[in-house]
Structure formats: structure tokens, C-alpha cells
């Protein structure tokens, strides 16, 4: 029997209402509650927004079929709601921060961006802190999640997804990934600003087990990067920190073959070679490096000088540097320091260093070195040195030696007469006025008046 029009309309209306109800039901949020908390059950049963007959299915059955699981199966929405309720929970500050951190850590596992946003909406500073901190109280709770998918979280950071706050996340990211995946961190070295360079290099080696397979893999990953990103110095540092064994078999040939093909590696290997030569006399070192091109030769010599163990080799090596024309190395603090150490070992050494200095070529890079090389001898031999000074050939070094004598007389011995004697010996008038000005500075400082 055909239904009447009225009946038809009723059926149509009812079926459309049913569609409405089903639609609302499908969009209901899925949530879960613990078995224990009565409050939760109550909360769950209030949560349905549908007008339709869904009360029978309000027992927290999520759409995925899990029932009554504790917060371990929450999704972003649950964490967000719990987070928003915190200001009303009247916790103490340390407890509140602890709970926030725990929420964030779990939240980040299912919804990293949501967790980051929530953390950044709070205060960024550490109210209680006395020391500078790089990311406040909360962000470090996200480090495990950041490290879990380093590629994805790196994209967020590289794209400045969080504006100025990205910087704080970057600190955490570097630290976290340095721990769990230093090779990935190394692969990104070229993408960091120079401002982050120290952070990165510390994080790379924080957890490394020197000499292990993973350390070797890390070194290999770093060595793959181009010289613009990883300099020879950085590579040397990496080799040390990863405990890479330095094999010097056939090193001369190796360095020769590297020059012009891989200059960075040539410098690295040359330096590592030089470090091993520190106990040899200069003549032997000279012999070993004779076959090398000049530029790389001075790298070996410098490394040897730097790692030198025996003071008796110091002067020989320093001379070698001079003959190599490695002026910037000679000018450096390390060189000065080594020579001063040598001079302080005894009267003979002091004299030897002073003698050696007079053979240096006169250049702007060697001037300071000259002064520092003679000062010990002059200071401790005010009388005997007068003869020595007289034996020096006329010229720059002789004048400077007299000037240094004057300085030592004044500053170490408070002896203006000796200073006057020395200053009067200076030949070059221009330099003499410079030396005189050093003395008048002393006179001003001490308030000394001419009698």
C-alpha cells in the first residue's frame, strides 16, 4: 500500500532528523577518563553537546574504541583543557611548574606544536632564577619530543615558525639532538648562525664515547662538510674529541699528496704530525719537512713548536719558524710565552734567549717578541748586561735593547740613573723620543722629580 503524502512527509522529516543526530554524534569529541576518578566520569557524562539521544553512549568510549584509559592516551585537546584549568588549581609555584613541565612533556608526544604554543603563552623568564638561562622554566620539558623527529622540528626552527621565541627552542633542540643524534646535528652545521657555533660544537661532543664506533661515525660526518663550514681547526678539534687515532705511517707522502687537492685535510694532517715532533731538535724536524712546500712546512713546524716538551729545542724551532717566514706565528702570544718560559729556567737560558733574539730579522711582527726575549736577561743582570749591550751591532735591535734596559731599570729596580744612562745610548733620534716618552709615563705614575 502506498503511504499517504502526510505519512511520507513524516517519514522524510524523521529520516532527516536521524541524519542530523548521526552527524552531531560523529563529531562528538572523543575523550577518555580514568577508572578511578568519579569526577571524571561526571565530567565525561556532561560533555556531550548533542541534543539527540546519545546519553547512553557517554561512558567515555573514544572513537578508536579505547575505554577508560588514564592520561597516557590523551590527545591535544585534553592537554589543552587541563592546561587551561591550572590557574584555578591554586598550586604553589614549584608544584605548578612541575605539573606544567610534565603536561608539556606528554602533550608534546601527541601534539608538539600545541605544546610549544602553550608553553610560549606563559612567562618566558625564570622568576626565581639568579643566573642567565637560555629558555626559561618550561621549554626544556620539550627536548625529548624535539629530538624524537629532529628533521621535522628542525624545519620549524629553520623557518622561524615561532618568531623570536624560536631562538629558545633552538637552544633546546641543539642540546637534545646533540645527545640523541649528533650525526644529524653535524649534518646541519652549515645552517647555523655563527652565534650558535659554540653551542653546536659543545653539544656535538657532549655524549661522545671517544674511540667508539659511533665516535668515528660522528667524525666522518663532520669531515664530510665543506671547508667553509668546518675549518681545519674545527676538524682537528673534532678529531681530538672523538678520540680518532692518529696514524702517522707514511705521513710525509700523505701530506704531499693532499696539498692542492684537499688543503684543509693537508693542514689537519700536517698539524697532527707536528704535534708528534715536539720532542725532536729543530735540525731533525727541518730534515723531515724539507720535502714539503713552504706553506705546509710552517704548519708542521708550528704544531711542533706548540707542543714542545723540551726547552732546549725551543730556540731551534723558533729559528725554524723565522726561516719559514711564519711571521704571524712568531707574533703570537704562544711563541712569546714559550720563550719567556725558557728564559726563566736559568741565567744561561736567559742569556741564550737574548742572544737568539738579536739574530731575528727586524720586522714589525718581531718587535714585541724581541723586547720580551731580552727583558729577563736585562732585568736580572743590570750590571753585566752593559757589556753585552755594547757588543751589539749598531741598529734597531741595539737601540731597542737599550730602551728595554731603561724600562727594566725603572720598573723592576726603581733606578732612574741606570735608565738615563741607557736612554742616552740610543742612536736613532726618532725612536729615542719614543723611549723617552715611556720613561715620562713612569715618572708621572711614580711622581718622581728630577733632582
Amino acid at each position: 500500500m502506498q503511504p499517504s503524502n502526510k505519512t511520507r512527509l513524516w517519514i522524510l522529516g524523521a529520516s532527516h532528523l536521524a541524519m542530523l543526530a548521526i552527524g552531531l554524534l560523529l563529531a562528538r569529541p572523543h575523550f577518555s577518563s580514568t577508572e578511578n576518578s568519579a569526577e571524571n566520569k561526571q565530567g565525561a557524562s556532561n560533555s556531550s553537546t548533542t541534543a539527540a539521544a546519545t546519553s547512553s553512549s557517554q561512558k567515555g568510549v573514544s572513537r578508536q574504541g579505547s575505554t577508560f584509559k588514564p592520561s597516557t592516551s590523551w590527545h591535544g585537546g585534553e592537554y589543552a583543557r587541563a592546561w587551561k584549568a591550572l590557574p584555578h588549581a591554586k598550586l604553589s609555584t614549584p608544584d605548578r611548574i612541575r605539573i606544567q613541565r610534565e603536561l608539556l612533556e606528554k602533550w608534546a608526544e601527541t601534539d608538539l606544536v600545541g605544546a610549544i604554543d602553550a608553553a610560549l603563552a606563559e612567562a618566558w623568564d625564570n622568576d626565581d632564577g639568579e643566573y642567565f638561562d637560555s629558555s626559561g622554566q618550561l621549554l626544556s620539558a620539550l627536548s625529548k619530543a624535539l629530538a624524537k623527529d629532529p628533521g621535522r622540528s628542525w624545519d620549524m626552527i629553520r623557518d622561524r615558525q615561532f618568531g623570536v621565541a624560536t631562538g629558545m627552542l633552538r637552544h633546546e633542540w641543539i642540546r637534545a639532538v646533540g645527545q640523541t643524534d649528533p650525526i644529524f646535528l653535524a649534518s646541519k652545521m652549515g645552517e647555523f648562525s655563527w652565534r650558535d657555533a659554540d653551542d653546536v660544537s659543545n653539544a656535538l661532543f657532549m655524549d661522545v664515547d671517544p674511540g667508539s664506533e659511533s665516535a668515528k661515525a660522528l667524525y666522518a660526518a663532520i669531515a664530510k662538510l665543506p671547508p667553509e663550514v668546518v675549518s681545519a681547526e674545527m676538524l682537528l678539534d673534532a678529531a681530538k674529541r672523538t678520540g680518532i687515532e692518529v696514524d702517522l705511517q707514511g705521513i710525509q707522502q700523505e701530506v704531499l699528496s693532499l696539498v692542492g687537492k684537499d688543503d684543509r685535510m693537508a693542514k689537519v694532517r700536517a698539524t697532527q704530525w707536528g704535534w708528534q715532533l715536539g720532542s725532536l731538535p729543530a735540525s731533525e724536524i727541518e730534515a723531515q719537512v724539507a720535502a714539503l712546500p713552504e706553506a705546509i712546512r710552517s704548519e708542521v713546524v708550528w704544531a711542533a713548536f706548540d707542543s714542545m716538551r723540551k726547552p732546549e729545542n725551543t730556540l731551534g724551532l723558533a729559528s725554524l719558524l723565522a726561516s719559514e717566514g711564519a711571521w704571524d706565528k712568531l707574533e703570537s702570544r704562544d711563541t712569546v710565552r714559550q720563550l719567556q718560559i725558557l728564559a726563566s729556567t736559568g741565567e744561561d737560558s736567559a742569556r741564550a734567549v737574548a742572544d737568539w733574539a738579536t739574530d731575528l730579522p727586524v720586522r714589525k711582527e718581531t718587535t714585541e717578541l724581541f723586547h720580551r726575549s731580552v727583558d729577563n736577561y736585562l732585568r736580572n743582570n743590570m750590571d753585566g748586561a752593559r757589556e753585552w749591550l755594547a757588543t751589539l751591532p749598531e741598529g734597531t735591535w741595539r737601540d731597542r735593547a737599550y730602551a728595554e734596559y731603561s724600562q727594566q731599570a725603572l720598573n723592576a729596580h726603581n733606578n732612574p740613573e741606570a735608565s738615563r744612562w741607557a736612554l742616552d745610548q740610543i742612536g736613532d733620534t726618532t725612536f729615542k723620543s719614543e723611549a723617552e716618552s715611556w720613561r715620562s709615563q713612569w715618572e708621572k705614575r711614580t711622581g718622581w722629580q728630577a733632582q
Partner: protein
């Protein structure tokens, strides 16, 4: 029905279904936006599950979370404590312990490792070693054996176990029995001190102290114990063993302690015990100073410590505390009592805000009003004379301005206008360290136009003072942020500060940055 009718029917039903679904979803998602934070960017995150109508649900969820994540255990090692309760003892505890150690040492570090794995392995190894210790009946032998494994050294096991398995074993045995094996290794000295102090604090008293002393007499332990110290959380300082021991002694046993100390030939131990005792309270310190025959050095120390404690004692009047402070810091020639009082008021205020209710957080989120915080702070602070009022008001303003500059501003209304301006302008550099740069920028709309030279200087001082910190924290992201600041004096100052702060670290990069921020004009006079 025709097929056209069928199609229409199906379509209309589906349309209703779809519409209802969409509308319902949208209303759930809308509830997610955080009304409390003006800065939160639009969420691209999980939208499928919340609604503004479910506020009560949030509190319930939070309550269940808090219950599941109770307060941290004393050892600070939740995994270890949990496993201690749940891990069943193996039939051969020694073998199981060794296996656990090997598993821990074999863990491969980078490349897809679950970060929790390391911690879990370490916790398991610690618990299994505890089982082994208990089963063996001779912890000393276990310690010897552990020392023979190469893994022990590479993992630094003895050191980490000193907080966990060794500590628990020693506690279970009691320090008197445990001291014999605790002296075997430098790593277990820490355990000795921890457990000994614990038992003393629980009421061991002088008798325990004396027994322990005679127990270790002549041993290696007795040799280095006087020199041993550990970090103390409460005091925030390194505390030596005997100092800590002295502190556990109750006032009632003071005479017995004094007798014992004076009977000890070792001057250092004697003084440390008594000094520690003086730290247990004012009563103890006062009594001690009345005793005869004390080392003059000790007397000085006790007085200094006493004054130091008094200067921080919020139950005393500020004037008294300043007097005590000046006793200790006698070198100060022209003491500025007002400045000292201001410092103390600020410290007390910070203590109040950090140790009690979470006022700053609640103020930030609009749960506590300014009046509520002010009233609570007044009540929570020690009694303040009129001279302390300004420091209090300004101090509180400085704390709250970091949370909400606009809502905090009325606090300063109680000050005369020149003091109010002084507080505002000085807040630019003394307050708001490390807060979000956007929040810092918005603070400047509370600032009146500077009038005096001092105010003009302070107007820009803040940006300069924060330059290094912002650069360290945010790196190049701060540079980008500055570039996008609205034009004006703040931007000019910030840009300039970027250059000099960068130059401090790297002059070459500073030059590059300078060219970026201030591009050389095309028609250069070259």
C-alpha cells in the same frame, strides 16, 4: 519513485548529515583558542576534540593528571623508586645484576635511540644491584666484586649507586653496621654522610653520634671525614660532615655535645661540631656563646653565622636585621641603612612570591586581582615601617609588571608623582629581564614622555641592558625581531645595541650586521 527522486532524497540526507557534522566540529574547535593569551598564534594543531563548554571537564582532567603524577620522590629518581617496588627478585640476583650492567653498557647512543631507554636500563641495573646486595649478606664483598668489572668504571656506576642502591642498603642495615663497607670506596663516602645524617635527624642523637665515632675510629673513614662536604639544598651551600652533624643535635642535648666536642683532640672537628650546632637556632647560638673555654676563632664564627642568620630572619624588625648585617660586614664605612632596608624588603618579597601561593602566575592569568595580590603580600611580609613602604610598592610593581604591565600600573598610584616616574623609568632596565621582547615593548606604552636628562637616559637604557641577554637567548631571531619593530626611539636604540653587542663577540660579523641594518647609501662620497 523516480530515480531523480531517489537522487534528491539521498542528496538531501547526506547534506543534512554533512552540515550537522561540520557545524558540530567547528563549535568544538572554537573552544580551543586560548582566550588568555594575546600572543598565542593561531593553532594549527589538533582540533578535533575540545569545546568552550567543557571548562569543568578541564579541571577534572587536570585533577586526574595531578593524581597520576604525584609529588616527586625524595630520591628524585622516579624510575628507580618505581622499579624498586615492582621488579621481582631474580633467582640468581648476582647474575641478573651483572646482566643488567652489561645491557646498560652496551647501549648504543645516537641514531633513533629512545631517550627513555638509557634511564630505564640504569634504573634496572641499580635495582638489581640492590637485590644482589640484600641477597649476599655481605655488601662489602659485592662492592669489591663490582669494582673488578671494567663496565663499572666506564659507566661511573659506583658514583651513581651511591645515591640509590648503596644508600638503600646502608639505610636498611643502619649506619653503624654499614660503615664498615662504606669506607671501602671514595664513592661511598657520600652514602655514609647521607645515611648517617638521616639517622641523626630521625632522633639518633648524641648516643648515635658517639657510637658512630667509636665505630669508625682509627679507620680510613675517620681520616677523611673531617674534610668531606656535600651540597646542602636548604642552605644552598657546601656543608661539611661535622658541621651537618652538629646541626642535628637537639637543644636538649647541648651539654652532652659540648662535653663531647671539648673532649675531642681535633680542633677542626670540635669547632665544626659546635658551629654546626649554633646553626640549629638562635637559642643554640646564644647558649653556646655563654660557654667558657671556647676557641676565639669559633666564637667569631658563631657570632658571624648568628648575625648572618639574623639578618635574614623575617620575624625580626628590619632595623634589628640591618644591625646584625652591619655586625658581620663591619667594613662598610658609611652604611646606607635605607638602601640595606630596601634590599631586604625586595628579598623578602621575592621569598614570599616564590615560596607561597603562585601569585605571579595567577595574576598573569587574571585569576588573582591586583588588590588580592597586594593584600596577600602585605600580610605575608614581615612588619614594615613607613621607610620600607616605597621599596615594597616598587618591588611588587617590578614583579607584577613582568606579568601584565597594564594591570600592574595602578600599584604606583600610591606614590608621589616624582617617585612614581622614578619607579617607571628605572623599571626599563631593572625589571623585565628575559621576558618576551614583545611584552617588553608593550611596557613602553605605560611610560610617560621623559622630561629630565636622567629620564631621557633611562628611556633607552633598558634596550641597551637587555641587548646581550636577548642576543644570547634568541640569537639571530632577535635581530630579525628588531628589524620588524615599529619605527621610533625604541627601534633605533635596539638596532644600535645590536651592533655594539655583536662587536663585543665578533667584530667582523658586527661590520656585516652594520651594513645590513644601515645600508650604505648608493651615492656614497667615494
Amino acid at each position: 519513485m523516480t530515480s531523480r527522486h531517489v537522487i534528491l532524497l539521498v542528496a538531501s540526507h547526506l547534506a543534512v548529515l554533512g552540515l550537522a557534522y561540520q557545524l558540530s566540529q567547528a563549535s568544538h574547535a572554537a573552544g580551543e583558542s586560548d582566550a588568555n593569551s594575546p600572543n598565542a598564534p593561531t593553532k594549527v594543531s589538533d582540533r578535533s576534540s575540545s569545546s568552550a563548554m567543557l571548562a569543568g571537564d578541564g579541571q577534572a582532567l587536570l585533577a586526574s593528571f595531578i593524581e597520576a603524577h604525584g609529588p616527586p620522590p625524595d630520591s628524585g629518581l622516579p624510575l628507580y623508586d618505581e622499579l624498586k617496588k615492582t621488579l621481582p627478585v631474580a633467582s640468581d640476583p648476582e647474575a641478573a645484576a651483572l646482566a643488567a650492567i652489561l645491557a646498560l653498557s652496551k647501549r648504543q647512543l645516537p641514531d633513533k635511540l629512545d631517550p627513555h631507554e638509557s634511564e630505564r636500563l640504569e634504573a634496572e641495573a641499580s635495582v638489581r644491584i640492590l637485590h644482589w646486595l640484600r641477597a649476599s649478606g655481605d655488601p662489602g664483598k659485592v662492592l669489591d666484586q663490582l669494582a673488578t668489572y671494567p663496565e663499572t668504571k666506564t659507566l661511573g656506576l659506583l658514583s651513581s649507586l651511591s645515591w640509590t642502591a648503596f644508600k638503600d642498603m646502608a639505610s636498611e642495615q643502619g649506619i653503624l653496621k654499614a660503615s664498615s663497607w662504606l669506607e671501602k670506596s671514595p664513592d661511598t663516602r657520600r652514602t655514609f654522610m647521607l645515611v648517617a645524617l638521616e639517622e641523626m635527624k630521625e632522633g639518633g642523637g648524641l648516643s648515635l653520634i658517639k657510637q658512630l665515632e667509636s665505630e669508625i675510629k682509627g679507620s680510613a673513614m675517620a681520616g677523611w671525614l673531617p674534610l668531606f662536604s656535600m651540597w646542602n639544598k636548604e642552605d644552598k651551600g657546601e656543608r661539611s660532615y661535622y658541621l651537618s652533624v652538629g646541626k642535628t643535635v637537639s637543644f636538649g642535648e647541648r651539654q652532652a655535645l659540648l662535653d663531647m666536642a671539648m673532649g675531642n683532640e681535633n680542633e677542626h672537628i670540635r669547632n665544626q661540631l659546635l658551629l654546626g650546632f649554633s646553626r640549629s637556632g638562635k637559642q643554640a647560638a646564644d647558649w653556646l656563646l655563654q660557654q667558657e673555654g671556647l676557641d676565639p676563632k669559633l666564637i667569631e664564627l658563631v657570632k658571624t653565622v648568628g648575625n648572618d642568620i639574623a639578618s635574614k630572619d623575617t620575624s625580626l624588625a628590619y632595623d634589628q636585621r640591618i644591625d646584625a648585617f652591619l655586625e658581620v660586614n663591619a667594613g662598610v664605612k658609611q652604611p646606607d641603612r635605607q638602601a640595606l632596608m630596601n634590599d631586604m624588603v625586595r628579598e623578602d618579597l621575592n621569598g614570599f612570591l616564590s615560596n607561597g601561593r603562585d601569585w605571579r602566575y595567577e595574576f598573569r592569568h587574571g585569576v588573582a586581582t591586583l588588590d588580592e595580590v597586594l593584600a596577600a603580600a602585605r600580610e605575608g611580609m614581615p612588619k614594615m615601617p613607613p621607610a620600607a613602604e616605597e621599596a615594597f610598592t616598587v618591588g611588587l610593581y617590578r614583579e607584577l609588571v613582568e606579568e601584565d604591565p597594564r594591570k600592574a600600573l595602578p600599584l604606583l598610584d600610591s606614590l608621589p608623582e616624582d617617585r612614581r616616574r622614578d619607579a617607571l623609568f628605572n623599571s626599563t632596565w631593572q625589571s623585565m629581564v628575559n621576558i618576551a621582547p614583545d611584552d617588553y615593548l608593550s611596557f613602553f606604552s605605560s611610560l610617560p614622555e621623559p622630561e629630565t636628562p636622567a629620564e631621557k637616559d633611562l628611556r633607552t637604557k633598558g634596550w641597551n641592558w637587555k641587548a646581550r641577554g636577548f642576543l644570547m637567548r634568541y640569537g639571530d631571531d632577535y635581530v630579525e625581531w628588531v628589524k620588524q619593530m615599529p619605527e621610533g626611539i625604541d627601534k633605533n636604540t635596539a638596532m644600535n645595541s645590536l651592533i655594539w653587542a655583536t662587536r663585543e663577540q665578533n667584530p667582523a660579523e658586527a661590520r656585516k650586521l652594520n651594513d645590513q641594518l644601515y645600508p650604505p647609501k648608493a651615492d656614497a662620497t667615494k
